[in-house]
Point group: C2
């Protein structure tokens, strides 16, 4: 088929009329499908069901004999740190193991920054006026929600194939009011892009106006490769230490999409200066996180090798979902009305529909019973300036549901484009 913008008005009307017939057929099906949520489905969760039966009766102690049923060890079991260090490529001494949620560790980090400041702050951030934050977009709505609630003015920088537009990031970071940046460096939500070595290097070497600028490095998909043919992300701490800027980095990850969302284990990694600054506040916040769940994860996986095998099993299940979505999206190829990403890992596909049509796509799909992620959710303040980006989360539906939902999505993208071009 020709590119839509090369169709004559008459041809456009003809195509639109055919699509409208399909629309009515889907309408008659009375669908109720959901592509909005970056959630695993039951089959994926079942892969971790060994966690539901781990019997710790004879193994509730650490290697050193510490009884994990009791109080103590605020920043994580030594063997949990070693395990994470191995699988994430971190140094174990940099790791603080937290509760079940890396988002919570991020929120807590910025709350501490507001009330106490971070290492290198001249005063608590709440005592400064007009603070700003760099948001790479499209990005993760829950990151943006945190900085919005904390009152930061959010500055949008475009996400590209190699990471954020670094010229723009460097320009903005020179402003002393700019306190940090949100980054999902590998299989970024929602584009699936991975930061290049050069982008990482520029992030840790750029000149920051604020002496207490922080890179919020949410490496949520650090190990979420679909196969061994995977993206490679350089270790930001290794690069930063070369330049003496490791204090600039707050690193987060979790097993939320490795085992169970909500029932997993989260971590933060940071330099010695940062850890030392955080320790007294962490010690005031809690006597300790859930060590039993750390043990449960350690016993379930037993070794980093088993975790890697587990991730490949998981990856192949998720890849199947992505392939179903790609197959549908393929029918948009050559029409000049949409571009999309084909990541080798992570949880999302990002689609750029024809500018000015995303909201209409959402509306059309909704009217057929297919719920998409709210348009704009991937941008600060929930506003996509181009009204173009759609986030596709293919993991939750069954194969059949996903296939149907993607057909509806493709149909909606086509109809919205034709409406925009004029029919």
């Amino acid at each position: 088929m020709k590119r839509f913008n090369e169709l004559s008005p008459c041809e456009r009307r003809k195509v639109y009329s055919e699509l409208s017939a399909s629309y009515e057929e889907y309408k008659a099906k009375g669908l109720s499908l959901d592509l909005s949520r970056g959630k695993p489905n039951g089959t994926q969760l079942d892969i971790s069901n060994g966690l539901l039966t781990v019997d710790l009766t004879d193994s509730y102690k650490t290697r050193e004999g510490f009884d994990c049923r009791n109080y103590g060890i605020v920043d994580g079991l030594p063997e949990m740190k070693e395990f994470f260090a191995d699988v994430m490529g971190l140094r174990k001494e940099d790791i603080m193991v937290g509760g079940n949620s890396s988002l919570q560790l991020m929120f807590d980090s910025l709350m501490r920054a507001m009330v106490f400041g971070v290492y290198g702050s001249e005063r608590p951030w709440s005592q400064e006026k007009g603070l700003k934050w760099i948001c790479v977009a499209p990005g993760y709505d829950r990151h943006f929600r945190i900085t919005e609630k904390l009152g930061f003015e959010m500055l949008t920088v475009k996400m590209g194939k190699d990471g954020p537009d670094m010229d723009e990031v460097e320009r903005l970071a020179r402003d002393p009011k700019v306190k940090g940046i949100w980054c999902i460096p590998k299989y970024s939500n929602p584009t699936g892009y991975t930061y290049s070595d050069e982008v990482v290097e520029r992030l840790v070497t750029m000149q920051c106006g604020a002496p207490d600028f922080r890179i919020m490095w949410d490496n949520a998909y650090a190990i979420h490769d679909f196969s061994e043919d995977a993206d490679e992300l350089v270790d930001i701490f290794t690069v930063a230490r070369k330049h003496g800027t490791e204090d600039r980095v707050f690193y987060y990850s979790s097993t939320s999409k490795v085992t169970y969302p909500g029932g997993g284990v989260a971590l933060m990694a940071a330099s010695e200066n940062n850890r030392r600054q955080i320790a007294p506040y962490l010690g005031a916040q809690t006597i300790g996180y859930d060590k039993i769940n750390q043990l449960r994860h350690l016993r379930f996986f037993n070794s980093p090798e088993n975790l890697r095998a587990h991730m490949l099993t998981l990856g192949s299940v998720i890849k199947k979902k992505f392939d179903i979505a790609f197959a549908s999206l393929n029918s948009l190829r050559g029409l000049g009305i949409a571009e999309w990403t084909e990541p080798r890992g992570g949880y999302f596909i990002s689609i750029d529909a024809m500018p000015g049509t995303a909201k209409r796509v959402f509306e059309l799909a909704s009217s057929l019973g297919v719920v998409l992620t709210a348009v704009g959710a991937t941008f600060p303040y929930g506003i996509d300036p181009d009204d173009s980006n759609l986030r596709l989360a293919p993991t939750y539906p069954t194969d059949e549901e996903l296939s149907l939902a993607c057909e509806v999505l493709v149909l909606s993208i086509k109809m919205a484009a034709l409406e925009k071009l004029g029919i």
Copy 2:
């Protein structure tokens, strides 16, 4: 034996010399004992070992069919709320189930107050100067640590048999700079005293200078009775609602000392206005707490009745420890050098040694290998103005260790008193 202050100098020297002989005998034993930590021991923890083997393979869904392995339900499973409502005597709609730590929920509440304010605040607390906080003492060091880190000036009010000195609390609360009070209303740490109905009534009816004054109601020992012959605490919400002051109350509890410290489930309860004010910030902080651990607790207990039976089993184990300590302390009776509490529940015994001797008692006991809770830890800033209070945590040692440690403690209290009186 006579009261120590009625002994002649010669008699005092004679008694001291006998005690010194005992001291040397204990010294020769090379003890290494710990009475400092309010931690359960292995036997107590074993009572909850069913938690280590709960198999959720066929029961990972809620009553309504929600898959707890997945994202969602930020403020707790409905059945967990109902369960807590039953055992704590709360309304289920007031409950927000949190992670593993009520201390963390308290810290987070005050961090939110600093950054966003609470319901009724004119501005975030961090934007006000010279804030103060009422600390009932002797009390819980970790409460005091939070308000100290947050920069509150801490005002000490004496804890009595019926609760804090309410005349003093009422006087202080009139100051608009005073934002709240820490309370452990039942089997208070460390005295074991329970607030009377009148004290609770006065707390919720007193005039507060600050429109956003908060009672931090840490009901940690709500269900920690040794037997059915137990202290009764009136439900603060019931009383407050009568007077329309329920917004003044932030309520906390957990299963840390019901099942496992660190591996349990915590809760916060609050009025509708408070919950509504908190919800958007809680929603920014996390997608959800660990629901699997909530389920695990529900399956382990199965019913509130089983929990009550569990607490009586636990109570009888802890009571035995307290009785061992009481037996030793009895030898201080009539000497006029120490008073102590004999609670019917909770975790601690509070001893008031002769004023000006607590530090010396600590030193003497330490020199014999018995670690006591740091003197002053039960007061704001770690300073006991009378140098008198000692917190005894009898739960952790074995019976034999506890018995030995208490003998050493009694010996140290006597020697320190005689040194003070002059020998």
